[in-house]
């Protein structure tokens, strides 16, 4: 696999208004590439595993930055850096699930430049795919990972469909648990979709991990007050304590009354291409005490339907244990 020190030749656009960015994105369509912090982008381009005609750098569009309180909740510009999210008082006060998740993305240096929009829009990290092999996701006709000899320790337990790559975003799990919605603009106007519907698995789209299409720009993430101040649990398990992707992560939100769970959201990351909401577990704990006994009694529900590959079987007990801890803690 060739590696290059310099960027390939391409046009560079640095618009300062969303409207201009939309026009350029629409004009170049699939031959254009939106870049925010660039932490997913530059690896692809420098490795020549993907190529484009134009790079559309969104980082100068101030409108896409910042955290704003609204009557319905909080709006976060898609170009807001992960560090800014971690340091936000309003998010720490009401939605610490997101700040906890953002705080363990990659490394401090990457969080300083990586954006929320980029984190949720990033491509999967299957190493076969990232090295430029012609797998299903890259337009080919086979999956290198889902074979008896495939090296698939980091890959998915659920929803494999030709592709078994796991999602790489930590904040995605938190946003789904918080019932966030995503604001998408293109030249035809604005669309708002739930975070749960924003992410797309390979059964529905083998190439894309989100519903974003050429010409679309994710401008804002909205978090409603629904879960403000709830009891949250976040945990990420990775090989290293910094600069690593999740092997499994868990994002959970609980509302309780007299120690009993009245409502919950439990979302697992890195177990399939999209954040996996564990509705079976959520239903099973409804009305039950939020304690270890409840956690232990439902933990196996979290992995019902899991299909392990040659090297990722450890994710089954890991996911079960994280669900147990989320409910017990």
């Amino acid at each position: 696999m060739p590696s290059h020190d310099v960027m390939p030749n391409m046009e560079l656009y640095q618009p300062i208004q969303v409207e201009d960015a939309l026009e350029i994105a629409n004009r170049y369509a699939e031959r254009g590439w939106l870049v925010g912090g660039g932490q997913d982008t530059y690896g692809w381009l420098k490795d020549r595993a993907k190529s484009v005609d134009a790079l559309i750098d969104l980082s100068a569009i101030e409108e896409l930055r910042g955290i704003r309180e609204t009557t319905e909740g909080v709006e976060i510009g898609a170009l807001t850096t992960l560090t800014e999210i971690v340091n936000s008082d309003v998010l720490q006060s009401n939605f610490s699930l997101l700040t906890d998740a953002a705080a363990v993305v990659a490394s401090p240096q990457i969080r300083n430049i990586g954006t929320l929009g980029g984190n949720v829009s990033q491509d999967v990290r299957c190493w076969y795919y990232r090295r430029g092999l012609s797998c299903y996701r890259a337009g080919g006709n086979l999956c290198y990972a889902d074979t008896p000899q495939g090296m698939n320790r980091e890959h998915a337990l659920f929803e494999g469909s030709r592709c078994v790559a796991a999602g790489a975003s930590d904040t995605a799990s938190a946003l789904v648990a918080l019932d966030a919605s995503m604001v998408i603009r293109n030249q035809n106007g604005e669309t708002v979709v739930s975070a749960e519907d924003f992410f797309v698995g390979p059964a529905n789209d083998i190439i894309n991990t989100t519903i974003l299409r050429p010409g679309d720009i994710l401008t804002t993430v909205r978090i409603p007050n629904t879960w403000a101040g709830a009891t949250f649990y976040w945990e990420k398990v990775a090989d290293r304590n910094v600069w690593d992707f999740s092997l499994v992560n868990i994002a959970a939100a609980f509302k309780t009354s007299d120690g009993n769970i009245t409502e919950s959201r439990i979302v697992a990351g890195a177990v399939q291409t999209t954040p996996r909401r564990l509705t079976t577990v959520e239903n099973a704990i409804q009305g039950r005490p939020k304690n270890q006994q409840t956690g232990e009694s439902v933990m196996t529900l979290a992995t019902e339907g899991a299909r392990t590959l040659a090297h990722n079987g450890f994710k089954v007990p890991l996911l079960q244990n994280l669900v147990k801890r989320a409910i017990s803690t």
């Binding site: 696999m1 690896g43 490795d47 490394s107 190493w127 076969y128 990232r130 090295r131 092999l133 290198y144 074979t147 000899q149 495939g150 090296m151 320790r153 398990v237 090989d239 290293r240 304590n241 910094v242 600069w243 690593d244 450890f314 890991l318 244990n321 994280l322 147990k324 801890r325």
Partner: protein, 369 residues
């Protein structure tokens, strides 16, 4: 039997044998290192502490031994005193980033009793007239090139005494060195400065200025001597110091970990390492090697991933982040690094190397229980 005692009984000793060929060693003090480490780490006390920390956390302690052949013999040393009185030290040792060529060069300064500021090192390119030297692989050069610098220094001293006896009378054995001079032992006012001996060597030629040199020098060293011929008093010698055996680099390590049985994640709570590497030559470099090697050992045994797809013959590590070398968040902030500091009898300055085994000791520790 305690795990420490078991290793003390079985550990390599100075009269022991090592490797596939079961050759002798120059010296080995692993048992002493184990005893020192056991005290420093409070092994016996820690072994009595509970292993179950509550919930999913378990405590483990472990120890390991790292070994690596740490040096060779038979290479060449090349030194010069130039008419300005500077000691010119020539070294063919490479630099992996440890700068051992410089720390080993201090042997020459020590032998010649000359301040470090009055020396100059020549290295890095063969047109700087470098002697035949060992490669720098981690632990190799401390033993190997302390010896070459020592023998070349002895050659310089011998020639200085001869020049002094020639010019000032008496026998070479009547003279000794000190204060950048060679002088009569019974009257230190009678002598020559190093600078004067260098000028006299140029005047005398022959073996003194490098026009002649020993036949047993490696051809590469012979070329180097030819390159410096006539520039001062030249000391060139092959390491023929008597003795046999492999100089071992030994290290023991003690570790305490906390394991989360829910997640498989492990935190290193404490790490104490004691090296048996003879006399420590360069305390700061020693400390760097000990800590750096330990971090590397954490990566090799617990974090780093060198994955190949056996079906397609493809390496998975297409980016540094996929290789997962340890970060500062994966190792303890503080570790203890000590040395037994018993001199090796076959190195005039007492040192043996300690590079690679620092990784091995940490790797062996990870099955802590």
């Amino acid at each position: 039997m305690s795990r420490v005692r078991f290793r003390q009984i079985n550990a390599l000793r100075s009269d022991g044998y090592q490797g596939g060929s079961q050759g002798p060693v120059t010296s080995s003090f692993i048992s002493e290192a184990l005893a020192q480490g056991q005290r420093e780490f409070n092994w016996e006390e820690r072994e009595q502490l509970p292993r179950d920390l509550g919930g999913s956390k378990r405590r483990g302690i472990g120890l390991g031994i790292g070994y690596h052949g740490a040096g060779g013999r038979g290479y060449d040393g090349l030194l010069r005193i130039t008419p300005d009185g500077i000691l010119q030290i020539h070294s063919g040792v490479g630099n992996l980033g440890t700068y051992s060529y410089a720390s080993n060069a201090r042997t020459a300064a020590e032998v010649m009793q000359i301040p470090w500021e009055r020396t100059e090192i020549h290295r890095g390119r063969s047109d700087r007239h470098l002697p035949h030297s060992s490669g720098q692989g981690g632990s190799n050069t401390v033993f190997t090139h302390a010896r070459t610098n020592w023998v070349a220094g002895q050659d310089l001293i011998t020639k200085m005494r001869e020049i002094a006896a020639m010019d000032l009378g008496g026998e070479p054995d009547d003279y000794e060195i000190g204060g950048e001079r060679v002088f009569r032992s019974d009257d230190n006012s009678v002598g020559l400065t190093y600078a004067q001996t260098a000028q006299r060597a140029i005047d005398l030629g022959g073996k003194y200025d490098g026009s002649e040199y020993p036949d047993d020098l490696n051809p590469l060293t012979q070329l180097a001597v030819q390159g410096v011929q006539g520039t001062g008093l030249v000391g060139a010698a092959k390491d023929n110091i008597p003795g046999q055996g492999q100089p071992p680099g030994n290290i023991i390590g003690f570790i305490e970990i906390e394991l989360d049985t829910d997640t498989g994640k492990m935190d290193i709570i404490d790490y104490t390492a004691v090296a048996d590497c003879g006399t420590v030559q360069h305390p700061k470099n020693f400390d760097n090697a000990m800590r750096g090697g330990a971090v590397w050992g954490v990566g090799l045994s617990n974090l780093e991933r060198h994955v190949y797809d056996p079906q397609n013959g493809l390496p998975a590590n297409t980016g540094l982040y996929q290789s997962k070398p340890p970060t500062n968040m994966d190792v303890p902030v503080d570790t203890v690094s000590q040395a037994v500091n018993i001199p090796d009898p076959q190195n005039p300055t007492g040192g043996r190397g300690i590079g690679e085994p620092t990784q091995g000791a940490m790797s062996l520790l990870l099955p802590a229980r």
